[in-house]
Symmetry: C2
Subunit: 341 residues, 2 copies
């Protein structure tokens, strides 16, 4: 039996409407808090939009009787953001800015064309002074496997120029990024489950597997192993962020297939399995909750204990959404830990 105190997912795509309704149970029931990404169809570019979305999530959580679930909100960084807007956000307890380079991933059409210009530097300065956290999807527009590495220079420049601004490397995917955590006091990271256990070979190594296609793309086995090691270590600069990203099957299996892995249904069981396998269960609580609370200075986390028992079961093959469906990560595979309801 494993008991986790307040599991927190610091990077998740909860979507809207029918999909939100259908996928929220996987997070709201078993996590105390989730950082909801702001790259919706109408991106959450200001406080009001973020608060409206928070209400939609909370409404759905109430319908599920999940009263002890806190959606953590973020604002989609854009050049229109003002100091007044950030002050307003802070009053509403929103303290995270999410930066997308334009075109880097799903829903990044409204991202920054230029990461470092006069306007963004002003925003970073205000963000720093107001104790905001800057979460970054850090990828260049270069060759897929080098995009995160090439973005490293930008991470460095922001870290050096705004030393009190906490910067998060979201879904760290390249082992060459790990050095940044050690070199810069104000650089942190989130790590996904899938980057801990898969490499590019799981996408293209045999047949093509669209359900393992994600951004940032899975990299080499060496990257995978280094990321796994970092997560298992319980390193205090690293928190868990699943980047769980549901896409309808019809959007996955097409010529220009959508990037994203819907891992929400398997997160805690699979993490228990991995941490147990490598004899690192003592670090799981840090990775899944404590580090996030410390890094993001999270408050008012509902006191929620999640217990897992050793019991084999098969992951469901799909979640129906109207006339379509979503295939979860590890569909039809066997898990050995089950969450006790």
């Amino acid at each position: 039996m494993i008991t986790l105190q307040d599991p927190i997912d610091m990077h998740i795509h909860l979507r809207e409407g029918e999909i939100l309704k259908n996928i929220l149970p996987f997070s709201a029931k078993y996590f105390s808090a989730c950082l909801a990404m702001p790259n919706l169809k109408i991106p959450l570019t200001d406080t009001n939009k973020a608060l409206d979305y928070k209400k939609e999530i909370q409404h759905n959580a109430q319908e599920l009787n999940c009263d002890r679930f806190s959606p953590i909100m973020s604002i989609y960084l854009n050049e229109s953001i003002t100091k007044d807007e950030l002050l307003k956000a802070k009053k509403a307890d929103i303290r995270i800015l999410k930066l997308y380079p334009k075109g880097a991933t799903t829903g990044s059409e409204n991202g920054l064309q230029e990461i470092l210009n006069q306007k963004t530097l002003e925003i970073f300065e205000i963000a720093e002074s107001l104790d905001f956290i800057l979460s970054i999807h850090g990828e260049s527009n270069g060759f897929s496997l080098d995009r995160e590495f090439e973005f490293g220079e930008i991470f460095k420049q922001i870290a050096i120029n705004f030393p009190k601004l906490k910067i998060i490397i979201e879904h760290l995917s390249d082992r060459r990024s790990i050095d940044l955590l050690h070199q810069y006091e104000n650089i942190f990271a989130t790590i996904t489950l899938h980057h801990m256990i898969m490499s590019l070979d799981d996408v293209i190594g045999k047949g093509l597997n669209p359900h393992h296609f994600c951004k940032p793309i899975l990299k080499t086995p060496k990257d995978r192993d280094a990321i796994l090691e970092l997560a298992l270590s319980g390193d205090e600069k690293v928190s868990f962020g699943s980047d769980s990203a549901p896409h309808l099957q019809s959007n996955k299996l097409k010529q220009n297939g959508a990037a994203g892995i819907f891992s929400a249904p398997v997160l805690l069981p699979k993490l228990c399995e991995i941490f147990e396998k490598y004899n690192k269960l003592e670090n799981l609580q840090k990775f899944i909750s404590d580090n996030a609370i410390n890094i993001y200075k999270l408050k008012n986390i509902p006191n929620k204990k999640i217990t897992l028992i050793k019991e084999k079961y098969k992951v469901q093959d799909s979640i129906r959404i109207d006339n379509d469906f979503i295939v979860p990560f590890l569909a039809n595979e066997e898990l050995i830990w089950r969450i006790k309801d």
Copy 2:
């Protein structure tokens, strides 16, 4: 206007039955000869099977009134092959053995589990003495992007131990393989159109593109550029082999999607465009025909001239096969050279 003398495709998948019938025109009309790959549903593991298949191709070519088209046959290398079998093959004018490592690609289930063992070394020795050519799909079972490079050691060992055996690196995809052509007199290569102009980014760089998924997988932009340069140079050790590989859409767009790019409909126009773009039209004849004739000592090539004129047109979006269809490479894109019928 460009006129090509006897275009030859030294690596093509022509399939069988209904698909063969529908795709053969793209090759039989515009090429003088094609090396038909032996990895069919029933692999061409001996002379009789290869000759039966040759008849099927020839029958279809006759139906198309393509009397000046020579299918070049190969035999699927397997441990049952004897000297008598190779003597028989030679009498039937079959002089190419195709080696697949087991599991490396589509239709490689019957490939070699072990590339270098007593039995295969015996076969290589016989092949050398009978002046056979050994065409190799050279990939290890390691990480996708290193598979061809890792196979390099085996290329070297065969080249050193059988110095009179001509060895072909099929669909060379990794720039690190190019050295082998220079280091070993008896190592040659074929190059595809798609490895000359695309990288892994064309598969996974934006949305997922199943129609660019192939084996060996497209590699880095540096690999692409080095392969393009090699092809453009007209290097006498390199001949053109499209690896055109049609797959039904239903097999492409699924969880375990099939590897292969159906490039046959666009080969000569696109090659003209590229060689013209880089001011290397003077080398196209070598790449598309002369080098192959020299390397493989091809005889009885029908005297066929193919003329291309500058005229823009859009590549068809699909080729219907019963209730399914095949999407060609560059579907819906504009080409600037057209084959004059």
